[in-house]
Amino acid sequence: MMKSKPDEEDYWNSSKFKAFTFDDEDDEFSRLKESKQAVNSIRRLVEEDDDEDDVEKVSWSGEPVGRKTKTGSFQFSDSLSDSSVRLYAPELRKPKSEYKDYVSDWSPEETVHRMQQGKAVSLEKFRSLQDKLLLLDFSISAHDGNVITAVTLFTITFTVLFRELESRQTALRHFIHYLTETRDQRLLLELLRALGRTEDIALLQYKEHLSIADENKRRDFLKSCLSLPFSPEDSAHVQDHYTLLERQIIIEATDRQAERGGKVEIFQKFPRRASILNMPLITTLYYCCFYHYTESEGTYSSPLNVRQTFRISEKQFFVTALAARAKLKAWVDVDALFTSRNWLGFTRKKSPLGFHRVVDILQKNSAPTQVLQEYVGLVDDAELRISLAQKHKCHDIIINTYRDLKDRQQLLGYRGKVERGSVEERKINELLDNPQIRWKN
């Protein structure tokens, strides 16, 4: 077996075109250095020996297998020995000489049966509509999609098609599948329309937009989809899709110009990496929060306008704005997002999002420790707060939390972790010495 290796390697290497192996062990082999080979190939050698056994079994020509296949009712080998006789749809006729096999007058049932076995048949003798439908019904009960499709195509003349197929759902499905595969969009839509499968038509038509590259054509196409019979919910989504692309085209044109003009600072500082066309809504919102944050609600690119138009949930808007402003390190904007006044006029931080998630987003945008600290401190759950504080080295929070928990032991332990002589150590010592705290341990 080792001997064959160089041959195989030659084969793989000499082929200029991308060839591949069944068993990637082979190409791994070619990369291995000799020394490594000696050690690591042991298992492979064992395997290849096995393989050689297989090859020997080949020449042993499968006696038991062969015997069994013959006694078996119908088999692998049957279909091969039979291979001179072929399955031909009516259009695929062979020269006259091969016709002799099917001059016989097969019944519809026998015909379908022969088709399934891959034998030649003639469908042309089924002339009357009744005969054709009978043939069709037998093919349907055979469940073989290949045969059903062939018979359906043969039986179909478009005048009777829709009516008759409707009562034969299986044939219909195969025909629809066939039209989908052959991309016969026109006929397919016509068929679905005749069948009253309106939502399917709508979705199928809508799907077409994916193959339109030009954004203006795509927008116009989406507009034409608005009148399609979608379900009410989908209809609203398609409307949004259209509105979004329309808007993206306007924003893209304006921003590209602004960027080229070189006068708008933000585009100079943070050049746009890609066009906003065909991006999802939330990505578009992020873009607007990044480049157009302060715009008044009247413009297309204003985040608030986007939010309103598309009914974006509070949480989504919040997360997106937070991420965009954090990316710009606009900590003031970040801060403002959380600020709400209660009826007494005090400001307090509120968030539709858990503060641990806020910290996560800020940290991903490399916020400085002071900023992080503020939000870590707002995490409700004490244990989670401490673990976040440890991760982000917010000593104050840890110390204060242990103090609030009256956990003297933990505080003592933490003293060992902070730097000697640091502000933190002094703070811990003060707390430990404070006689007014009633420690729980």
Partner: protein, 610 residues
């Protein structure tokens, strides 16, 4: 290479040999030197049947991937296209043939369709004007491919989609054909049970096929006692859950394809002696995973939390074996030690590989919430928590905050879909308000074109609005004991260990069928979709098995629409249980996990433009 196929209860190597024989026969029909042009999708499944050495013996000198344009030059007599019956592939073949004729007129063309010829494809070739150029047009019936000693797969990825979305039952026809082949080799299966529409169809076709061949009696002593046909849509929940067995996790995280896995190479870097370069390998490490590898066979079905212990135990055994060399004093002893060396080396490298894989997985799955907040493992843990909440029926009728957060941070869409579908399945459909909310959030975040995907999931029954106010899931869960509070991961006593608490519904059905029988769960069976049934096939006199006392029965469980590795592990667990009295062989249209399954149901933009 294929010895592991013959170690099981049923010798599946017979099936493989039959498939190899047919391949050789076809190759010999095209006499002379040949080049094969491959539909790339087929190379994986074919790899399970034959290696290059077999092809080479039959004068295959070159192999190429099918792609448009001109065929590469090769000095061979025959060009054979190995393709699936797909119209778009016919166009490529036509292009190949056309551009070929101008240069060499002497090469002969052949097509081998896998697994079936298609009239439509031949029609297409005719329309393109190339049908006459082919000397042989044949089919290679590769219905059931032996995957391991107890596992057969059709590797038919689109079966679920075709059956439940497109209502195309061709895959069921292939299934029935495959089962007939299997019966021809292993004897008529006397008892057939089934649950689901597709199962009913397959059983009907099998019974009819048998009637049609009534003339020739099958004289082989039956190997299988029972066939159980299960529709995937009877149990939509299981594939959505994250598998927690070793093999299941490898598949979840890295994807096992046709028995191979590709892994990040860093952990496999080997120190090479006498070599200066310390470059880390950049190519993914590709490993074959099956029971031919002793260690893998031992650990693959364990819950991942029990794998570490198994590996370290194995390491001790191997070290001890190597230590033996100090005790070898006489020439005879040394000789014996040396003779065992190859086996020991193999065991050592196998151990090294699986230790590396286990490490890779551990990095992702294990959490220590308060010390190391590694975000990958945090995500894994949170995800699992939510899954388990859904499976136990906690808050399935509300919008889930974790899902909401995942959408907000743009986690992969498939992850979101898996969770949302799971919630829907565990709640017998989502409340309209919740359904609309998720739908809007998904479309806004990932793009409106996913309307198409969401509609597909709805058609497949994975994601739907609630139609009746009655939620059956809790009843099903309780009756079938789908949730076990105290699942023992180390020394399991129940199949629920494969999902650390959740016992796969499909396997519970299988288990109950064996004992005490489905009559005990009539109520639940009625709640699950599709009919359940029992059929008997007559055996010729003299083929009735005389069962020895204590001899196990053998059941073939066929999953129509896919099966997960964790389900397979659960069945293997049942086979090994001392008092189960039943051994299971598993067959499926395709090995799936939640991700590959959802993917097969998506309408992806990149597929739309040819």
């Amino acid at each position: 290479m294929a010895a592991h196929l013959s170690y099981g209860r049923v010798n599946l190597n017979i099936l493989r040999e039959a498939a190899r024989k047919e391949l050789r026969e076809f190759l010999d029909k095209c006499s002379g030197s040949k080049a094969i042009v491959w539909d790339e999708y087929l190379t994986g499944p074919f790899g399970l049947i034959a290696q290059y050495s077999l092809l080479k013996e039959h004068e295959v000198e070159k192999m190429f991937t099918l792609k448009s344009g001109r065929l590469p030059s090769a000095d061979v007599k025959n060009i054979i296209f190995f393709v699936r019956p797909r119209l778009e592939l016919m166009d490529i073949i036509a292009e190949n043939v056309f551009s070929e004729d101008k240069l060499h007129s002497s090469r002969e063309f052949h097509i081998l369709f896998v697994p079936r010829r298609s009239m439509l494809c031949e029609q297409r070739l005719k329309e393109q004007g190339v049908l006459g150029s082919f000397i042989n047009i044949d089919e290679y019936i590769l219905d059931l491919i032996p995957y391991d000693g107890d596992l057969l797969s059709m590797e038919y990825e689109s079966a679920f989609r075709e059956c439940y979305l497109e209502n195309d039952q061709t895959s069921l026809y292939h299934t029935a054909k495959g089962l007939m082949t299997l019966q021809a080799l292993y004897g008529t299966i006397p008892q057939i049970y089934g649950k689901g529409e597709c199962a009913r169809h397959v059983a009907n076709m099998m019974l009819r096929m048998k009637r049609e061949f009534a003339g020739s009696q099958n004289q082989i002593l039956p190997v299988f006692d029972t066939l159980l046909l299960l529709d995937r849509n009877v149990d939509l929940l299981t594939p959505l859950a994250t598998q927690l067995t070793y093999e299941g996790l490898i598949d979840e995280i890295y994807g096992i394809n046709n028995g191979y896995v590709k892994l990040p190479p860093e952990k496999f870097a080997q120190k090479k002696q006498g070599e200066a370069s310390k470059d880390l390998p950049t190519e993914p490490k590709k490993l074959q995973l099956n029971s031919a590898e002793e260690l893998y066979a031992e650990i693959r079905d364990k819950n991942f939390n029990a794998v570490g212990a198994a590996l370290s135990k194995k390491a001790k055994i191997i070290s001890a074996a190597f230590e033996e060399r100090h005790n070898a004093k006489t020439v005879g002893e040394i000789k014996q030690f040396v003779s065992q060396l190859p086996h020991m080396q193999a065991a050592r490298s196998s151990l090294a590989n699986h230790t590396s894989i286990a490490e890779l997985i551990k990095d992702i799955t294990s959490t220590n919430l308060y010390l190391s907040l590694v975000s990958a493992s945090e995500a894994f843990f949170d995800n699992l928590t939510v899954e388990q909440e859904f499976m136990t029926g906690v808050d399935t009728d509300k919008v889930n905050t974790y899902i909401e957060d995942c959408i907000a941070q743009k986690d992969p869409l498939i992850k979101i879909l898996r969770l949302v579908c799971m919630q829907s399945v565990c709640n017998n459909g989502l409340k309209q308000k919740v359904f609309d909310y998720y739908k809007r959030e998904i479309l806004q975040t990932y793009g409106y074109e996913h309307i198409l995907t969401l509609n597909n999931l709805e058609k497949g029954g994975l994601l739907k609005p609630q139609t009746s106010s009655r939620n059956n899931y809790p009843t099903i869960r309780k009756t079938l004991k789908l949730w076990m509070e105290d699942a023992n991961e180390q020394n399991p006593n129940d199949i629920s260990y494969v999902y650390s608490g959740y016992a796969p519904l499909s396997i519970r059905l299988t288990q109950v069928l064996a004992r005490p029988g489905w009559r005990s769960i009539e109520e639940v069976l009625k709640m699950l979709p599709g009919p359940h049934f029992e059929e008997r096939q007559q055996l010729p006199a003299g083929l009735h098995k005389k069962r020895q006392q204590g001899e196990n029965r053998t059941t073939l469980v066929f999953f129509l629409g896919g099966v997960t590795y964790a389900e397979i592990a659960a069945l293997r667990f049942l086979s090994q249980m001392e008092d189960s009295g039943m051994e299971y062989i598993i067959a499926t249209t395709k090995l799936i996990n939640g991700t590959t399954w959802i993917k097969s149901l998506m309408d992806r933009p990149e597929c739309q433009t040819p």
